[in-house]
Symmetry: C2
Subunit: 309 residues, 2 copies
């Protein structure tokens, strides 16, 4: 089996935004360079928002102009509104992400807008991106469960997937914001979505809050999904469940994919090494479930003769 799976690294945006520490533009570029050097070819690099609201993302234009290896890496910019979209495109962004939480309460609590309003804004941005020849990607957040409204119906998610796709989104990302999905629900939802758009244009963003992220990736792979969001070292927790895991660790996903025979283009050795570098930058211990094993496998001399692997 030698099918390709795209790992979309969200550490520089989603991961950093969740952490307290504010990195300079230079530090963020250093982080991104480290990831690119591992072979990562899709990165959510920053968001174009008010620096006052999200200081971790200040200097997005400056960052965008210095991104490394732009010819071979798909860099995406998160944009919350048309103004952010225009700033992103002016800065050179060729791929833009919008986020639509699929329940009213989540939108109201998160960004003080109704579901209908947010859907309209996202739709407008996707249409504009399409018209401008910019790659538009639409996230459907709390796609399995909303922390306020509970379980989300697959009909609702499918309807919004269709809406964003019709508006011109080139990719729909199903985001399990609070890590509530399980493999059976993943299959159910993706099977339904597959009736309204090709799964080659669907990606998944799983959280590991309940420990099921990799199992969910496997279920999604079985359905035909070939792109997943991950964060280096599992950077970025669950804001609704303090102490619990958030983003799935890039190294965990790459390890499983590579061991199953998929191609990611990413070097596990380099990835394992770069986690230490990132830890230094964010001043926090990182590492997914496989990190200890990966360090032993790739970073230590093993003199016993016995080894796992």
């Amino acid at each position: 089996m030698s099918e390709w799976v795209t790992i979309n690294e969200v550490g520089p945006r989603d991961g950093l935004q969740s952490l307290g520490k504010v990195l300079t533009v230079e530090q963020r570029l250093q982080l991104i360079q480290g990831l690119v050097d591992c072979g990562i070819a899709a990165i959510e690099s920053t968001s174009f928002v008010s620096a006052k609201a999200v200081p971790q993302m200040a200097g997005a234009t400056e960052l965008y102009r210095q991104l490394p290896n732009v010819a071979n890496v798909r860099y995406a910019a998160l944009v919350p509104n048309l103004r952010g979209y225009n700033d992103a495109v002016a800065a050179g962004a060729r791929t833009v992400n919008v986020v639509l939480s699929v329940t009213d309460t989540m939108n109201l609590k998160n960004i003080n807008m109704s579901l209908e309003q947010t859907a309209q804004v996202c739709s407008d941005i996707m249409k504009q991106a399409k018209a401008d020849g910019v790659n538009g990607q639409a996230y459907l957040a709390v796609a399995f469960e909303c922390p306020f409204e509970g379980a989300v119906s697959t009909d609702v998610v499918t309807e919004f997937a269709k809406q964003m796709y019709s508006a011109g989104a080139q990719k729909i990302i199903i985001a399990d914001t609070i890590g509530a999905a399980n493999p059976a629900r993943v299959i159910t939802l993706l099977t339904q979505i597959a009736k309204v758009l090709p799964l080659s244009q669907v990606a998944c963003h799983f959280h590991d809050t309940r420990g099921m992220a990799l199992a969910n990736v496997y279920a999604a792979l079985q359905c035909g999904v070939r792109e997943f969001d991950t964060a280096i070292g599992g950077m970025g927790g669950c804001p609704f469940s303090p102490g619990a895991s958030g983003n799935m660790a890039t190294e965990d996903a790459v390890l499983m994919l590579e061991q199953m025979g998929y191609k990611t283009g990413i070097s596990l050795h380099e990835l394992t090494a770069v986690i230490g570098t990132v830890e230094g930058l964010v001043e926090r211990k990182l590492g997914g479930h496989s990190y200890n094993w990966l360090k032993r496998q790739y970073l230590q001399n093993n003199e016993q003769g016995a080894h796992c692997g």
Copy 2:
């Protein structure tokens, strides 16, 4: 979906044996009672070995005579040889486990016997158990990868599964001793084994060394396996990969199974609470990937209104 899945709790034997601390018989019974109170109905309670070799398992006969709720819980005893088998049966054991590592080097390094010798001993015990009306279960260890010999062929594992089954084993447990399996390999191996014995008589023992235990459980479920070994709080590491995970945490497996609609008969609330009790007994922090979320879900008052659940 309301199919039953059996969780076989190995904390009291496999888990404890990996930890340094030696618990008294009374403490081990306290641990077991706590697990039984959660609804766990299959437990690997102890092993019948020399107390000098394995002090954590001393007093096995005394323990067996005081096991709680024997009418409703399937208690198993690990036995390394016919002497241990006889001691176990004399103590009242109705289910016995043997372990056959499927490579020569693993047997030689582990117990100083060849593969052929160990297979013979295990086979003899299975035959004796069958003759005595005792439930015999055979573990096939390093079933995916041996720390010394590398990847293990599915033909070899299948051959030994057939051999143990023919000798009278009522259950064959496929044990991924160093956590090297991935979902694709799980499917390949189980599909082959299904040709020589019914998968209703096969269980899986996955380790989480590389983070894939739950994904592997899901793959095995898809094949028709309905029994899994787990350890409360993920007790017991990987001796070949210090610092890395070993046993899959009972709470992680039960959470996924229950969320997918399977019945385990186990209360997640009680399970979450008992982890704290076990931590007190073994004097070590425990908890699988879902533990933080479980604690928040079941053990804390959540006053914000917002919750992940």
